[in-house]
């Protein structure tokens, strides 16, 4: 998707379309649901104000903007500790325990691997698109993803 200046309606549509994945992505960087939502709203309110022009892919722009806002948030609130992390993945019926284990396992992954997994799985981004968010090569993005999956598999292994 490629756009220039966005109307408020376009912005709201983008929020509907990418809000969940972007929230998960913000969650992969900051700790706590409230902080992740703050970051997400900050990015979209800036877009609603209408003084931001998007050149190139809107998806890449959104993920980059969320990443920058999340890093700024981390820098400004480095001393704060989230009182509650809250759930950021909705589990299907019967998989609630797996959901909790998965969130915990994701939290334990190195940040760069966790972010690529979120982008690829829940952001539905190809490795080329994910690589554009970080200015890295698609091969690097793919290798981070593979390492991340391997660690995730290890962490989700039942205790024997």
């Amino acid at each position: 998707m490629s756009r220039g200046k966005l109307s408020p309606e376009d912005v709201r549509q983008l929020y509907e379309q990418y809000g969940r994945a972007l929230l998960a992505y913000a969650y992969a960087i900051v700790s706590g649901r409230a902080a992740a939502e703050d970051v997400l709203h900050q990015v979209f309110e800036r877009l609603l104000r209408g003084n931001t022009e998007i050149s190139g892919s809107a998806t890449t722009y959104l993920y980059r903007a969320v990443r920058n806002a999340a890093l700024n948030h981390l820098r400004d609130h480095s001393r704060e500790v989230a009182l509650s992390n809250g759930a950021w993945l909705e589990s299907p019926k019967g998989l609630e325990a797996d959901g909790v284990a998965l969130q915990s396992a994701l939290r334990d992954l190195p940040e760069e691997q966790r972010e690529i997994i979120v982008l690829h799985i829940w952001g539905a981004m190809s490795f080329d698109e994910a690589a554009a968010v970080y200015d890295i090569s698609p091969k690097t993005a793919a290798s981070r993803y593979r390492y991340g999956l391997a660690k995730l598999r290890e962490k989700l292994k039942p205790i024997e």
């Binding site: 969940r20 929230l23 979209f44 309110e45 609603l48 209408g50 909705e90 299907p92 997994i117 999956l149």
Partner: protein, 122 residues
């Protein structure tokens, strides 16, 4: 989970979980223009206006008494004091010089000159 599970299966497992829905964006368009200015800017502007108002009020206040003779007399006295204090420093010296007898001054000047004259003639 089976530790030998393939990447495809692991991905399928992960995709069963959906990211949580974020809360709705605030309704209405965000504040723009003057209303988007942060509160501390408003406070600073208000303080500046108050200072400006006080300054103008003090400027327009005329301290010169017109109707009150006693106050007018005070003002005249104040004016004299200020005039007196702002006189050049040399002026207060005049009475001091006046106490020095002019004849004595002239005599001293004369004696100094006449004592120097013979040396010049030599």
């Amino acid at each position: 989970m089976d530790p030998n599970v393939h990447d495809d299966e692991l991905e399928a497992f992960l995709r069963q979980f959906q990211p949580a829905k974020p809360s709705a964006l605030p309704e209405g368009s965000p504040r723009t223009g003057l209303f988007s200015v942060r509160p501390h800017v408003w406070i600073a502007a208000a303080a500046l206006l108050v200072c400006l108002g006080i300054g103008l009020a003090m400027r327009s206040f005329d301290p010169a008494p017109i109707d009150n003779p006693a106050a007018a007399s005070d003002a005249r006295l104040m004016h004299e004091i200020v005039t007196h204090l702002s006189r050049p420093l040399a002026e207060p010296m005049t009475p001091l010089l006046a106490t020095f007898p002019p004849d004595e001054y002239a005599r001293r000047q004369l004696s100094t000159t006449s004592a120097a004259e013979p040396r010049g003639k030599r």
